[in-house]
């Protein structure tokens, strides 16, 4: 480990500063700089620097965090995940509300005597919001996973809500096969199809950034 191998210093520093709340780009820069310092200090220099202790690393983390973010208005996760996700969710909800207020008639599809309501204009508009969520996340240097979650947030919220409602339905009315079918159809209606539409819009923003490719 202490042979001055650059890759090892990088890995060592990367592990030590994993908890640093910085964008991936800023974090990579800190890793590159600190590992270069350790490499210089430990390869043929009389000014050898020993690896900082655990306590010193904690001090370094705190100090770097403080110096890089004096007043952190929003942390990295908020900027790259929560804010884009909430924006997408809000936009998709407003679009649905607008469509209902404007009086667009939903398309009714009957399956096993159960009517499913489809708002085609809403589904058609969802790719724009998927794109918005993924773009905002990408702009905040969000990782691929954050971009996908931000883009899919309306569908994911519906999935969570429906998953919570289903057990209540069974608890109150008892087990019904038709209820399960209805749940499956509602899942298609409010989660799967919207999810596809959102993902379609997000696709152009799901390419790995040069930093993530490196």
């Amino acid at each position: 480990m202490r042979d001055g191998n650059k890759l090892d210093w990088r890995n060592e520093v990367r592990e030590r500063i994993a908890k640093l709340d910085l964008s991936p780009q800023a974090k990579e820069e800190v890793i590159a700089e600190l590992s270069a310092h350790l490499e210089d200090a430990n390869t043929g220099s009389p000014h050898k620097t020993s690896m900082p202790s655990d306590r010193e690393w904690r001090q370094i983390l705190r100090a770097i965090q403080r110096s890089k973010h004096e007043v952190p208005i929003m942390n990295y996760r908020t900027k790259s995940l929560w804010l884009p996700g909430m924006t997408t969710l809000l936009g998709a909800s407003l679009l649905l509300a607008l469509i209902q207020i404007l009086g667009f008639t939903p398309r009714l599809v009957w399956v096993h005597g159960m009517g499913m309501v489809y708002y085609w204009p809403w589904l058609a508009g969802l790719p724009a919001f998927g794109a918005l969520g993924a773009y905002l996340s990408q702009r905040a240097q969000g990782q691929m996973r954050a971009r996908i979650i931000a883009a899919l947030s309306p569908a994911l919220v519906m999935l969570i809500v429906m998953s919570m409602i289903l057990p209540f339905g069974f608890a109150i009315d008892g087990w019904h096969f038709l209820r399960l079918v209805a749940f499956g159809l509602a899942l298609l209606n409010w989660v799967v199809f919207p999810g596809f539409a959102l993902l379609l819009g997000a696709l152009p923003f799901l390419r790995p950034s040069p930093l993530q490719q490196a």
């Binding site: 590159a32 270069a36 310092h37 220099s45 370094i60 100090a63 403080r66």
Partner: protein, 119 residues
């Protein structure tokens, strides 16, 4: 010997920090340097009296960068390895003169009180 009081630690920390700022700014006023070279030159030129560790150097450099006193960019060093070179900005240069004056006054005051000057 009694351990350092909180106040003593605070004073020591402020002196160390202040001396670090003026040392780095003075060095960068001569030429752009990267972190390890800054630490090496400060140690050599002060006969080891001032030493920077990883923990003390980089937070200070990042803070000075955020204040706009220095700017950094990656370039190859003499050995052809990419290093992040720090360069003094106009704002940093403006900061240097009052800092020097502050430290001069500080040493004069200390000298008149405790006769610490070697002259």
């Amino acid at each position: 010997m009694q351990s350092e009081t909180h106040m003593t630690k605070r004073i020591r920390s402020k002196i160390t920090r202040g001396s670090g700022e003026i040392a780095i700014l003075s060095l960068l006023a001569e030429q752009p340097l990267y972190g390890f070279e800054i630490a090496r030159q400060i140690s050599e030129r002060t006969g080891g009296a001032l030493k920077f560790t990883l923990a003390s150097l980089y937070p200070l450099l990042y803070e000075m960068e955020k204040r706009g006193w220095v700017e950094a960019r990656w370039q190859a060093n003499d050995a052809g390895r990419d290093r992040r070179y720090y360069r003094l900005t106009a704002a940093g240069r403006r900061q240097l003169a009052p800092l020097r004056e502050e430290w001069r006054s500080f040493f004069q005051a200390l000298d008149s009180l405790a006769g610490v000057s070697h002259a």
